[in-house]
Amino acid sequence: MSEPRIGLRGVKVEKGRRTVLDVESLDVRAGEVLAVVGPNGAGKSTLISVLGLLEKPKRGEVFFAGEPVSGDFLAYRRRMAVVFQEPLLLDASVESNVGTGLALRGASRDERRARVQAWLARFGIEALAGRSARTLSGGEAQRVSLARALVLEPEVLLLDEPFAGLDAPTRQSLIDDLARVLGETGAATVFVTHDRDEALRLGDRLAVLMDGRVRQEGTPQEIFAGPADEEVAAFVGIETIAPGRVETVSDGLAVVRAGERLIEAGGDVRAGDAVLVCLRPEDITLGPPAEATRTSARNHLPATVMRITPAGPWVRVELDAGFPVVSLITKQSLEDLALAPGTAVVATFKAAAVHLIRK
Amino acid sequence: MPRLAASIAALALCLASAAACAGDDELLLGATTSVQDPGLLDELVAAFEDDYGYDVKPIVQGSGQIIELARRGELDVIITHSPGDEQALLNDGVATGTTPVMQNFFLIAGPESDPADVAGADGLADAFARIAASGAGFVGRGDGSGTHRRELATWEAAGVDPAGEDWYRESAAGQGQSVLVANDSDVYTLVDSATFISLADRLQIVELFRDEIAPNVYSVLRLDSEQLTEINENAAAAWIEFITSPRGQTVIEEYGRDEYGVSLFEPLLLD
C-alpha cells in the first residue's frame, strides 16, 4: 500500500474570528482522485490553498510523500499544479500560456514546444496554439488552463471548482475530457466542487466538507447510502447508489444490471458503460411482495428491510436488495405494511426517477 | 564636423566624470544678466580659461540672487553693478574689497513719438518725472538687479512712486527680455547701453535720453575667504588679476567693436 502523496494533519485556518477550515486528517494517494463536495462557503477553496502551499494554516501541517513540508515551499510547489475556477491566463498566446509552468521550471524551448503540443492535442485544442488568450471562449480558456496544469505531469493536481463558471454542454464536454485524462495520469488529485454529479463522475473517493470540517469521507456509495448526519444527508440528497453496467439501450431506455437485478432507466448511455444507479429515497415506494405489478413503474426490486429510523414526519427505511437501497415513506405506510427489520418487501420506482452517472 | 565631434567628446567626458569636473580648478563666478546677454561674459571666460587654465562655472542670475549666494559663500567671486548692494557686503565684512573694472551708461529707450518728451529732459530724474506725468507706459525690471536698483533710486529722486500705477509694469525678466517686452508694447524703459546696442537692430523703440552723469559701473568683488571658508580663493584671485590686467581689459574694450562699431563696455583700468 503506497503512502499518501499528500495529506493534512491537524490543520486549522482562521479568518478573523471565524474558523474557515478545521481538518484533523486527510490523505490522497498517488493515482487517486479525491472529490471534495460541500456547499458554498464550506472552506473548499481554503482547502486547496493550504494543500497547494499558497496559504499557511494557523495550526497543523501539510504532508508530502509522507514527510511534513518544511523549508522552501517552492520546491514542493513545483511538484504540484492548480487549476482555479477562472482560467487566469496570461496575456499571451495559448501555446505560451500552456508552457508557463515549464518555462518557470527552466525547460528548454524544444522540450516546451513538444510537451505543449502533446497536451494541447489531448484536450483537442491544437488548433488554438497560436491564438491570443484574450480571444478564447470560457470553455476553451478552461481547457487551456487544464492543459497548462497537466503538461507539468505534477505529482499532485488540485482543482478548485474548475467547471463552475461554464454552461452545461461545455461543462459536460470538459468533464468527459478530464475524466479520460485523469485516468491516465498517476497524480494524486483533489477535485473540489459543489456539484454532486461532478464529484460522483470524477471521484474515486469523496469527502464532504461543511463549515470547514470534513463530515464524512469514503466511497461514493458509503456516503450516499449512509450519510453521517442530517446535514450531510440534506446536502447529498441521494441515498441509493448502486454500481452497475448497461446491458442494452433502445429508444433512450437503458437496461442496467446492478448486482443481480436489472433496472430500467433513461440516460445518455451506451451498452457496456459502467454506471452508478442513483435514486432519491422519496422516489422509492414500498409494497408487499404480492402487489408488485399493479403500478406503471417498471422497476420492482425484491428487498429485505434492514433498519427503520424516524425522520421527522417521515420514516427512513434502509433495505437490502443485493445492494443498499434507502426509501422514505410515511408513518401511515409504515403501519399499513407492518414493516420491521427482516420483513420482505418490493421496492418500486419509475425508470424516470433513476439517475444514471457514467463512470 | 570635426568641431562637433570634439565638442561631443568633451561633453561626454565631462558628463561621465561629473564629479571629477569639480575641485580646485573650478571657479564659481557670479555675474548678472547684463554682462552675459550682450555676450561679453562668454568672451572673458574663454580668455581666462585659456590663460589661467581654470574651469569657470558662470552662475548668471539677477543681482539679488548673486549677492545672496555670495553672502553664503556659494560663489568664489562676483561681478555686479549695484553700488548699494556692494557697499552692504563691504559693511558686513562679506566682501574685503571692490574694484570697478568697466562701465557703460544707462539710457531711456521709448517710442519714436516720445509722448512724454523725455528727449527734452534735463536729467534722468526729470525724464522719469515726465513719464509719470504723461502716464505713458514704462516697463521696469522688478527683480532686484543693478538696473532695477538704479531705476528705483531714480523714481525716488523724481518724487514718484510708480507701484500700482496702471502705466507701470514690472517684467521681472532678464535685461534683454525686458527690453523686448517694452519694445513689443512700444513703451519706455530704462536699459544699460550694452544691452540696448546689441539688440538695436530688432527694436523699434529708440534711445531718447542718455544719462551722462551717473555711469553704470561694474565692479568685481573680492570675498572674505576667512569668513567664507568654502571659497576657492586662488581661483578668485586669479580672476581678479585677469580682469584687472591689460589682457582682460583689452578683451572688454574690443568686445562689440566688430559687430556694432563701438565698445559695449568701457574698460576702467586701461591706460
Binding site: 499558497l54 510547489r77 499544479a81 487566469l88 498566446s93 518557470l104 497548462r148 | 523686448l180
Partner: protein, 232 residues
C-alpha cells in the same frame, strides 16, 4: 506666426549643419533625462512592486504621497536639491552643484513619484488572483513579479513615458541645480530659456522644436513597443 515659421527653418538648419552647440545641449538633455528616468523607473517599479504585492501597512498613506508627488512643482524640487548641494549645505562635500549629476538627481526626484504612482495603478489592474495562479504553477516570488510586470506592460510603459516626459521637459530645477553652464549643464530647455532671456526668440523656438522632435522620437518608439501585439 512668422516667428514660429522662422524658428522651424532655423531648427532644420541647425540640425543639418551639425551645429556643435545644438548637438551639445541636445545630448546633455538626453543624457541627464534618460539617466534620471532610468533611476525613476528602477525605484518606481520596485516601490510599486512592494506596495502592490507585499501590501504593507501604511500603503494608502504612501500611495497618497506618491500621487501628490506627481504634482510636485519642479522649481520647488530644484530649490530644495540646490540647498542640499550647496557648498555650505549638508551634501556640499560631494561637490555636485552645477554638475550634470545634480540635474540627474533633481529630475529623478521629479520623475520618481510619477512613475511610482502610475506603476501602482498598472499593477493593480492585473487580476489579483493571477498572482496566486502563477505561484501555484511553481513560480518563485521573483518569477511571479516578472510575469505580472509583463502582464501590465502596456500601462507600465505609459508610466515610463510619463516619467521621461516629466524629466526632459522641466527647466526650473535644471537651471537652479545645474547653473545652465555652457558645455556642462545646459540642456535644450535651459538653453531655450537663455535664448529667450537674451531676446533671441527664433532660436528659442528652434530649440523647443528640436526638443519636441526628440520627445516624439523617444516616446513614439516606446509607443510602438507598447502597442506591438506579437504572439509570444
Amino acid at each position: 506666426m512668422d516667428l514660429i515659421w522662422d524658428g522651424l527653418k532655423e531648427a532644420v538648419s541647425l540640425i543639418f549643419s551639425g551645429d556643435a552647440y545644438v548637438y551639445e545641449v541636445a545630448l546633455t538633455s538626453l543624457y541627464v533625462s534618460g539617466l534620471a528616468t532610468l533611476i525613476a523607473v528602477v525605484i518606481g517599479f520596485g516601490l510599486a512592486s512592494l506596495l502592490v504585492f507585499r501590501a504593507p501597512p501604511g500603503r494608502v498613506l504612501a500611495l497618497s504621497a506618491f500621487n501628490a508627488g506627481m504634482a510636485l512643482p519642479p522649481v520647488a524640487v530644484g530649490l530644495i536639491v540646490a540647498i542640499m548641494l550647496w557648498r555650505t549645505g549638508p551634501l556640499g562635500e560631494l561637490g555636485l552643484l552645477y554638475t550634470p549629476t545634480a540635474i540627474v538627481i533633481a529630475q529623478a526626484v521629479i520623475a520618481t513619484p510619477v512613475v511610482t504612482a502610475l506603476s501602482v495603478v498598472a499593477l493593480q489592474s492585473v487580476n489579483p488572483r493571477l498572482r496566486l495562479q502563477v505561484l501555484a504553477l511553481g513560480a518563485s516570488r521573483w518569477q511571479a513579479g516578472a510575469l505580472l510586470f509583463r502582464e501590465a506592460r502596456l500601462a507600465l510603459l505609459a508610466a515610463v513615458m510619463a516619467g521621461f516626459g516629466a524629466a526632459v521637459s522641466e527647466v526650473g530645477a535644471t537651471i537652479m541645480v545645474g547653473g545652465n553652464i555652457r558645455g556642462e549643464t545646459r540642456t535644450l530647455t535651459s538653453a531655450t530659456v537663455l535664448e529667450v532671456q537674451q531676446g533671441d526668440f527664433e532660436t528659442g523656438i528652434a530649440f523647443s522644436l528640436i526638443l519636441l522632435a526628440i520627445i516624439f522620437a523617444v516616446v513614439g518608439g516606446l509607443t510602438v513597443l507598447q502597442q506591438r501585439r506579437s504572439a509570444s
